[in-house]
């Protein structure tokens, strides 16, 4: 293709090297033998992978992160799907504004949101930290759910719902028998996007964690402060493995074009 030229190809290659090399470097480093992070390692081992499972806090916080991400995503789906449904199916005054409102959590700096929520829920209302953590994560992933579900609903012909209604199904039956099965891939993708974002979150969690309640990313941050050995690199590789699996599911359910068509 002559419209692309050699220098452009080289440029793209370098940019992608920039995107990929750091993750490759982590991966290689994780297989090192020595106590220090070194690239390339002098000799290889899997001892740091084993060490990940030795650090009790990692295992504990991994489970907490998993729990928070699952529950928060589930609540966000319960709250978000009905809202997304009304927004994409009905035309009413203020619809656009409401939509922006539902998507607004992404506009608020997360650190500010975390701080405000901590101030309000934990200090003022004296709710348990864990509850605050759940609520914080739920709120900030609602936009992901609403966006993905709206996109799936937009691709699902409204007349099909009307067909169900005229052949005797009420609105609720129609939703569960006709709509839900047809947007299931959107629901799966929304679940995963929300899950990943909750699982990886730091700025909100950093305020809403405390003694006994911490998440894996927070734990990793404090580990890095004190230790500079390849354990974190090994853990990173494991997490990338998880990302790969989840991404595969998104690709299957939503198609990657979702990411380029906003």
């Amino acid at each position: 293709m002559n419209e692309k030229g050699k220098s452009l190809t080289l440029f793209t290659f370098l940019v992608y090297l920039f995107l990929i090399a750091p993750l490759l470097i982590i991966t290689v480093t994780a297989f090192g033998q020595s106590e220090f992070l070194k690239f390339p390692p002098d000799s290889f081992s899997i001892r740091w992978f084993l060490n990940v499972f030795e650090v009790e806090m990692f295992m504990r916080t991994f489970l907490i992160s998993l729990e928070v991400a699952c529950i928060a995503t589930f609540i966000a789906l319960l709250v978000g799907i009905p809202a997304a449904y009304v927004i994409s199916r009905y035309r009413f005054r203020g619809r656009k504004i409401l939509e922006s409102f539902f998507l607004s959590p992404v506009l608020i700096p997360q650190i500010v949101f975390g701080f405000s929520l901590f101030n309000y829920l934990v200090i003022k209302l004296r709710l348990p930290v864990f509850t605050g953590l759940l609520i914080g994560h739920t709120i900030f992933i609602i936009p992901y759910i609403i966006r993905v579900i709206s996109a799936s609903l937009a691709n699902f012909d409204y007349e099909i719902e009307e067909a169900a209604v005229i052949f005797g199904a009420n609105r609720i039956k129609t939703f569960f028998m006709i709509v839900l099965p047809n947007i299931s891939s959107g629901v799966v993708a929304g679940f995963i996007l929300a899950f990943i974002n909750s699982f990886n979150n730091v700025p909100i969690s950093v305020f809403l964690t405390g003694p006994g309640v911490s998440t894996l990313p927070i734990q990793m941050m404090s580990y890095v402060e004190y230790y500079f050995d390849p354990t974190i690199a090994a853990l990173s590789v494991l997490l990338m493995g998880m990302t790969t699996v989840l991404m595969f599911i998104i690709e299957r359910s939503l198609g990657l074009s979702y990411f380029t068509s906003k």
Partner: protein, 348 residues
């Protein structure tokens, strides 16, 4: 009494009023078509009957009962959508069975009736396929079967054939008409294809801008259009204005026109089809209903020629099976036989 009647129905989308004081009556077993150009409100009328849109005012009476506020899913209506709207995740069998399942029909009976219906529309072997694995015509038949299987009180079809190719369209419309007569189904059918509509309907509603222009049998509409709009729709291309003068009707340039008239008006607008005007040589003895004209353009249509001619009253289109083509610029006379002239209401 009519099976279905729309009384003074008004339907709007926001500020856009689509139907205003709309009145329509349909009898038991009748096949009625709504015909009109795009955007005239055909779909809206059908959707109002189904209950998908709520009228701002007016009533829908069905079988003597007020149906205006009955929820859609409680009505026993069949609907065939323009894009079929089949359930993509269900097999053909489940699509057709859907309405019966909702009515809690016993499983054995569902099986029997769905089978029968699939046979009727010629899809016996396709029960386990999904809509995505069917051709357009087959999907159309599934949509029809799904609507018919519930033995609907009323069958509503919104341009069901518009996505099919020409040959299939003709086949399917014959089929729909046959089934409709076999089951004696009252049917409302939306289309903007004039030929399709005339060939299958008992009565036709010609609509324009949310109003009924004429509601009658196809033959009557074809032969006796009541408005200029309907006349143009069914192929009248020539229009003339006449006015009363000394008890006679004359054109603007004073030529007398004789025609059948019942009501005594001061002004008339009349319409004539291109085929119904007779071309004569100049100098005949008749003077009434005759205009002199000059040929501007002639086109060979196969069985006849089409001439665009110029008169003092403007241009006319005339079809004539003359042996030789009349040359451009030649003077001729146009004779408008009295029985071919229709009086129409002027377009606004």
């Amino acid at each position: 009494m009519a099976l279905l009647s729309l009384d003074d129905l008004t339907v709007s989308y926001g500020d856009n009023t689509v139907l205003e004081n709309f009145n329509l009556e349909i009898n038991q077993g009748e096949f009625v078509s709504l015909l009109g150009p795009s955007g005239c409100g055909k779909t809206t009328t059908l959707r109002a009957i189904a209950g998908f849109v709520n009228p701002g005012s007016g009533r829908i009476v069905f079988m003597g009962k007020d149906y205006t506020n009955i929820p859609v899913h409680k009505k026993q209506f069949g609907f065939v959508f323009q894009n079929y709207a089949l359930f993509p995740h269900m097999s053909v069998f489940d699509n057709v069975a859907f309405g019966l399942k909702m009515q809690k029909t016993p499983v054995a009976e569902i099986k029997k009736r769905v089978q029968e219906m699939l046979e009727l529309v010629g899809l016996e072997g396709f029960a386990q396929r999904h809509p995505g694995e069917l051709s357009g015509g087959q999907q159309q038949r599934v949509a029809l079967a799904r609507a018919l299987v519930i033995k609907p009180d009323l069958l509503l079809l919104d341009e069901p054939l518009s996505n099919l190719d020409a040959k299939l369209r003709v086949e399917m419309r014959v089929e729909i008409r046959n089934i409709q007569q076999q089951l004696n189904l009252t049917t409302v059918y939306v289309t903007h294809d004039q030929e399709e509509c005339f060939s299958i309907s008992d009565r036709v509603v010609v609509m324009k801008d949310g109003k009924i222009e004429q509601y009658d049998q196809p033959e009557v509409i074809y032969r006796y259009p009541m408005t200029e709009f309907v006349a143009r729709f069914v192929g009248f291309e020539n229009f003339l204005d006449l006015k009363e003068k000394d008890g006679r009707l004359v054109t603007n340039n004073g030529i007398e026109f004789k025609l059948d008239r019942n009501d005594e008006l001061a002004k008339y607008r009349v319409a004539v089809r291109p085929d119904d005007i007779v071309i004569k040589e100049v100098g005949g003895d008749r003077t009434a209903n005759v205009l002199t004209a000059k040929v501007k353009i002639s086109t060979f249509l196969g069985k006849e020629y089409q001439y665009l001619v110029e008169t003092e009253l403007g241009e006319f289109v005339v079809n004539a099976a003359t042996v030789n083509r009349i040359k451009n610029g030649e003077q001729i006379e146009l004779y408008f036989p009295e029985e071919n002239i229709r009086i129409v209401k002027e377009a606004l």
